[in-house]
Symmetry: D2
Subunit: 338 residues, 4 copies
């Protein structure tokens, strides 16, 4: 278990690693890095090479035990940036722990096996780090997807892929990851796993999962708050739908009341699967030019940026199993006068 | 000059004219319609046939003197709908007047000739309707664009198109329309027209202009507020940038103070031409998969929908000459207890 | 049964009906029209309103018994146009017959019920028109798709949609239509229907099916060749993959040998589901910016246009059940000196 | 001057450098590499990070003097691959030479300064390598583009960018590069440079230029044929329009006559700027969902792949100054029995 700090910096491109200099200027070494979490400027979908490029340039610069979570897509006003989670020798009030699952076989992606690997790895990380479940504010996961080649590998092995649609595999992978988190945090009972896989409708209030072609295992980052001391805090909630400004302002008002200022917001966004928001039709699911995850990031990113007053926010698209359908979890990390 | 009412209804597709039944149920006849203003669900760009389809199905149903303004693009949470501006025999507090310019020749689109046609038509409409400039809350214009064929026609005639890029012609057309409004409303002096065309940086605080391939002239709708009596009001302002939540909440708070409830919001959105919002980079101008107008509508539509609490809002993309660069005008129409 | 002629004309937009004048100039009346088959310039996917617009402007101009088949997507070099199938009082050598299925309920789309409706309607049309199976060169079908609303209607009725992905519903609908054709033409036995629905891998060599949101039933057009007399002929074959130039040149060489010239080519195109073409990877199935049907139309349209020497060709995307996987049927209609 | 060989290999992703092993198995060392030319699977436009990723992984593996030319976009049937140009100690019949211009300042991109830098560098490379102008079959250039940041840098310096539209800057950059080649090869006289910049309509028959955000200078590769000995040859021609199959078959027939087989084809493709191909309208310039360069690559890639019989071909989009408007140069490299 580490006491941590959170710092974020804009990047000029997916291959920009200059924030490392800024991190050093702020008094941290590359060896202190637990995680690099970034929004990169690709389409956030199957063929998003901005994520791969970012992972590629950052991984040689940070410890092998550190994880990267690059989420593609800075639609609308969102600004490409990286957020560092770094070990801090002082007691900051925030703690974090990271880990990985084993490599998932292609045919396991998006299945109950995937969910169980995530839940057991998450539990191990919690146990080793001494973080209690009720201190967890956010579990951030980067998980793999299916490409055409992986689909063919699965079929050649006589197995059945969870889907043959590569874009849809991202949703299936996110859902299994979220379900694993929900089980690890006791939001869902493990005995309900099969039913949850069937229904695709269970959810965690703390999960933020994004899929990518740049990895084969799941990268897991847990952020926990311990308000007993230190100036850093994290609070979480969830939006009931994609225009749930109240859920956001409620969290921001808490920050205000405590005299804090926002360091970072981690949010998930998705298009409502019913095709409606508060009774009115949206067109995110019938737009064959722009995938719904891109629409959702743009809209929720616009709302969050307006309310927070800045655009370097972590808004990730596709909230299957993460918050209520059509909505999504939010975690606000902030600093108060210590 | 007509006292008017504003009513809006969702549509199930760009060819859905069932709102006419709802209009009748609300006590109005097709002959009362001054304007049909719609958000249709195409890409809002050059090849947006949802706009053409909507104009096509609506125009036979309304008086010849009425205008249609269909703005394509319901990115993110925005919901396809139509807003009727109808004559009302009682004194409502809101007035409106409509008109058209003459047909613009292809080589005139986006030029100072275009701006002058708009300004003279707008002035005529104001004069005939008896609306004073300071009562104007919104001037909504639908204006033409250049297609490949029009570009070739211009070249064949030995003339020079304002641009050979069909998507960019939409921006040029919006700018000239907005400039025409600014001149008609005395926001810009006519003697500064040439300079304003050169700089492409002058703006009106009341203009909302959108381009489309479905017409050859400009459709003009003016909405004015006369608070001396009646229960309908309109208030306008403008966003300084695409995340200017304060500009919106200021208007919404005024509605609240007056005990009103929002009937409709008309907003313009654009990507900041500098590539930055409050010092942080955005990627709307370098995304070659999604045009910047689509990004901007999604983001500002998300913010507005969150703050207003509903998604059937008129958010139009491309705010050249409409509000400050990167921002855009907003007009809130609301009803108070009469 | 009617002896028919085939005429094609370019259009300036999806709402351009001026080809009707050209048809009259060629000696035909609107009442002679059996079918209007068009390539319109939308995305050819779920939200393609160019198809709806074209159907909307054409249907009032042709007999109620005539069918429209608008296929969206003129990617690459393809040129928007309409092809008329008109009754001809002389014996031309080509015959055609048209019809429709009953309206399909949303939950039936893409199922075996859908396939059976198509096969029984196709058989009826063949029987009534006296066209023998071995004379059939092409069966062209336009069939419905699932929108978000239809998916919700199905769920509300306690039924299960064939898919909840609106884009994928287009593929399922095409496959069921093609399977219906295959059964009607005795290419597949009806007793193998369930297995064929499961495998999604059976195919017809004469089917060309496209899906659209602009209709609820299936429009069916059958083109048959009777070489006993007249100057019009049709020959069909199929491409084994998307670069099978030999399959095309073989048909064109036959036309040449008979001293004919091409009137129209009807082709289907699709991305190979394995992700490979002749052993080399393609990226159509992993491109989250452009759907695979658009890629396939552009590529096959480029090949066909180069070989035929013109761009007003009917190339439709998504060849599920139509020709071998990754390939697709081709039908060349041509005129010889009578 | 080096005698060279040409080898090509498929890649599984933009970061796949496994072809280096295949190159070694074929008897070459990384130190032999003069150039790595690749088709990567991004959008080929401003935000194509597949190109950047490929350049990033390959540059550390090849000599500093070697150049990379990654062209984004494998639309339609095209297959991602890399082509190596390697020094060969035997006399192969093909020669190549590479070099770079100095770094171009942002305000120089797409101007006559850019063209002059290319022409002088090209001339120097020709002179140093002893390649005669009439032996040149292809000059391949990778050149920079303008991003939002570069546009702001130019403006901040009180200078004027050649365009503020980042996508359009790619076209301007390609044109200036092509013009530089045309001057170096005496296809255009240097005294006509200013006029050529104004008209944007002059062209080289040997140029193939692509723009990218991954470099600041121009990478230049010249391929020349010396048929006096050796088994490798190159022949060049150009397509008059995007469906000019005859131009291709003419070259392929020459290869056949000489008993050769094709090693690689380098082609440029573009949408005809008039909006027509052989008198029929195309929609590549009015499609606001897919940029015209993507359409053109897909269509010409489909035609070439069909005629050549394979899909690992170098088809680059945007042929401004490269071949006649709407067409583009083609260079076929082939091997004959020595």
């Amino acid at each position: 278990m580490s006491s941590i700090n959170i710092l974020k910096y804009g990047v000029s491109s997916p291959s920009d690693t200059s924030p490392l200099k800024e991190l050093k200027a702020a008094g941290y070494e590359p060896g202190d890095v637990l995680a690099v979490i970034g929004k990169s400027e690709g389409n956030g979908c199957v063929n998003d090479f901005s994520r791969t490029l970012s992972a590629h340039v950052w991984e040689p610069l940070i410890p092998r035990s550190a994880v990267t979570v690059f989420s593609g897509g800075t639609e609308g006003v969102l600004s490409p940036h990286v957020t560092f989670v770094v070990r801090d020798s002082s007691t900051t009030g925030l703690r974090a722990a990271v880990g990985r699952t084993r490599t998932l076989q292609p045919h396991e992606i998006g299945t109950s096996v995937h969910a169980l690997e995530v839940s057991s790895s998450t539990r191990s990380i919690l146990k080793e780090s001494g973080i209690a479940r009720d201190q967890v504010r956010l579990v951030l996961i980067k998980c793999p997807l299916l490409t055409s080649e992986k689909v063919e590998i699965i079929k050649a092995a006589g197995k059945t892929p969870v889907t043959t649609d590569t874009y849809e595999s991202m949703a299936k992978s996110r859902y299994s990851s979220a379900l694993g988190i929900a089980i690890a945090l006791d939001e869902v009972k493990e005995c309900h796993l099969d039913e949850a896989i069937r229904s695709q409708s269970t959810w965690s209030a703390k999960a933020s999962c994004s899929s990518g072609g740049e990895l084969e295992d799941c990268h897991i980052l847990i952020i926990a708050s311990d308000t007993s001391s230190g100036g850093l805090r994290a609070v979480s909630g969830y939006m009931d739908d994609a225009i749930d400004a109240k859920a956001i302002t409620k969290l921001l008002e808490q920050v205000d009341r405590e005299g804090g200022h926002v360091l970072q917001v981690f949010a998930k966004a998705e298009s409502d699967p019913t095709g409606n928001i508060r009774g009115n039709r949206h067109t995110m699911n019938t737009d064959s030019d722009i995938h719904s995850t891109r629409h959702a990031r743009a809209a929720v990113g616009g709302l969050l940026s307006g309310l927070v007053g800045e655009t370097r926010l972590y808004v990730s698209g596709g909230a299957e199993g993460q918050g209520p359908p059509g909505g999504g979890p939010i975690c606000v990390v902030y600093r108060v006068a210590a």
